[in-house]
């Protein structure tokens, strides 16, 4: 079991080969990131795959800013689309930069699953998941590609995470 604490969350990874704070800012640590690139919060390695984890915690009021399913006016919809796009791009480029970094480390030899832990409801998370899958992209999207960047991408909240991944419990730390 490997424990990782970051951004107010504590993860426990059963059967992990390695798990660490990927965007580590502490220069004294061997996992110090140290490059002018974006980085996901946590990377965990398992026998069959790598898992990249990005955490984005919003309070409830801010969450509705991204909810393009529901707007009360055209102006509000446009604003929400901007916010939605910003967050989607943020999550997308975090993944891509992390992939590049790991490529340079020689650590892209297994399928990669990208999981975003967001504090939205399931409906909004589904919407993000769909958009992010299209843009990462997930799978071998280009006919010229021999490997895929990401095997899968999931967007879920804390409650759903703990239901779906009982071997990787996550909790908020005070």
């Amino acid at each position: 079991m490997i424990h990782v604490e970051t951004d107010g969350f504590r993860f426990e990874f059963d059967s992990a080969i390695e798990a660490f704070v990927f965007d580590e800012k502490d220069k004294t640590k061997s996992t110090f990131h140290g490059m002018p690139m974006k980085g996901v919060d946590v990377v965990a390695e398992f026998e069959e795959a790598y898992v990249y984890i990005e955490i984005k915690e919003y309070n409830d009021d801010r969450a509705s800013k991204y909810d393009i399913n529901n707007s009360s006016s055209q102006t509000e919809l446009e604003q929400k689309k901007e916010c939605f796009k910003w967050l989607k791009d943020y999550l997308k480029y975090k993944f891509r930069d992390s992939y590049l970094y790991r490529h340079a480390e020689g650590k892209v030899d297994k399928p990669i699953h990208y999981i975003c832990l967001l504090t939205f409801d399931n409906a909004l998370n589904s919407k993000f998941s769909k958009s992010l899958k299209q843009e990462l992209p997930v799978g071998s999207k280009s006919i010229r590609w021999n490997i895929s960047l990401a095997k899968s991408c999931q967007v879920l909240n804390l409650e759903r995470w703990n239901q779906c991944f009982p071997k990787w419990p996550v909790s908020k730390i005070a």
């Binding site: 409830d60 529901n70 707007s71 409801d121 899968s152 879920l156 779906c164 991944f165």
Partner: protein, 372 residues
Amino acid sequence: MIKGIALENFAAFKKLELKFTSGINIIIGENSCGKTQILKSIYALSSEQNITDKLLGLFKPHNGNLSGLYHRGGKGKASIIIEDSSGQFAVTEFGPRMEAAKKESSIVNSGQPVLLPTKEVLSLLPAIQATTASKEVLSALFDDSVIDLCHMLLSEPDGDLTEAVNNDPRLGGVIPMLVKTIGGKFEINGDEHSFVKGKFIEKTSSNISKAQSAQAYSDFNNFEFKKEKSSETSVTMTAEGYRKIGLLQRLIDTGALVKGKTNILLWDEPESNMNPILMKLLVQCMLELTRNGQQIIIATHDYVLLKWFDLLINEKKGDHIKYHSLYRNKTDNSVEVMTTEEYLELKPNAIDEAFGNLIDQEIVNDMGELGK
């Protein structure tokens, strides 16, 4: 206005209490938690008809007797109690083997409740009006909520709709909005039932100066219904979603809703057969009705409808929403309720859970046993 309901040993409920707001009440929950049963219970008790007939006519228990409405495994009498805003009660109760229920009520002037079932009814009206089907046949085909609503819709309007829109400032907001939403209005003239395309527009008069017009507008509305030429179509030819919104227009037209009434509107799954695009307008219409004093209780399974309420609620306009989530207690499987005024605090949320289940399946498909 209904302030609350308490049910014991009745239908799906061992013991349950709900407190309502005078505005919008939204009941959610998984199937078989009794959402529709709550609406029908309020309707039965608010109705002035014989309570036993009403309960049997609405619920249609499998054995045709009240015992079919007694909660399985219950102890003691079954009871339903509703309380109105002035603290008066209507109570009905019956034992597990009784053939008739007793009802006592101190509630006065509550008005005839309106229950809109999931089934669309406007297209049934011509057949019911022409009495081509006997009472027995109708009763075999539909429960009382459908038949009662048809009779309500067929009753004569208590005045001209345009006149009402112009004379009652409250209706000036609601009716033009409903008519705009569906692009016309439903009319029943004698045995002719039709949908007429058109909209309410503000009348312009060259004889009234702008200042006079502004003064006049503050006192009463100045709308006229502009009908599209030769646009009458049969009700059956109209989209089902439009027919549902048309129901509200017709109910206001006949005086069953809004017009100085204190009765309650109970609406079972307003979203059924509704194009999701119309959902925002539907919610706006319901909010506008409550701003005119109409208490509404709806039961829904629809995320979009629920979210629109959350997004369009305007506390400055006096909007007030209560969300009631029905769920089964894991210990004894009894139905319980969690009530909140904040959408995001709504737990368990069976509607959002449906999206959660999609996420679960995607994870299984994409990641297999990883993390499990």
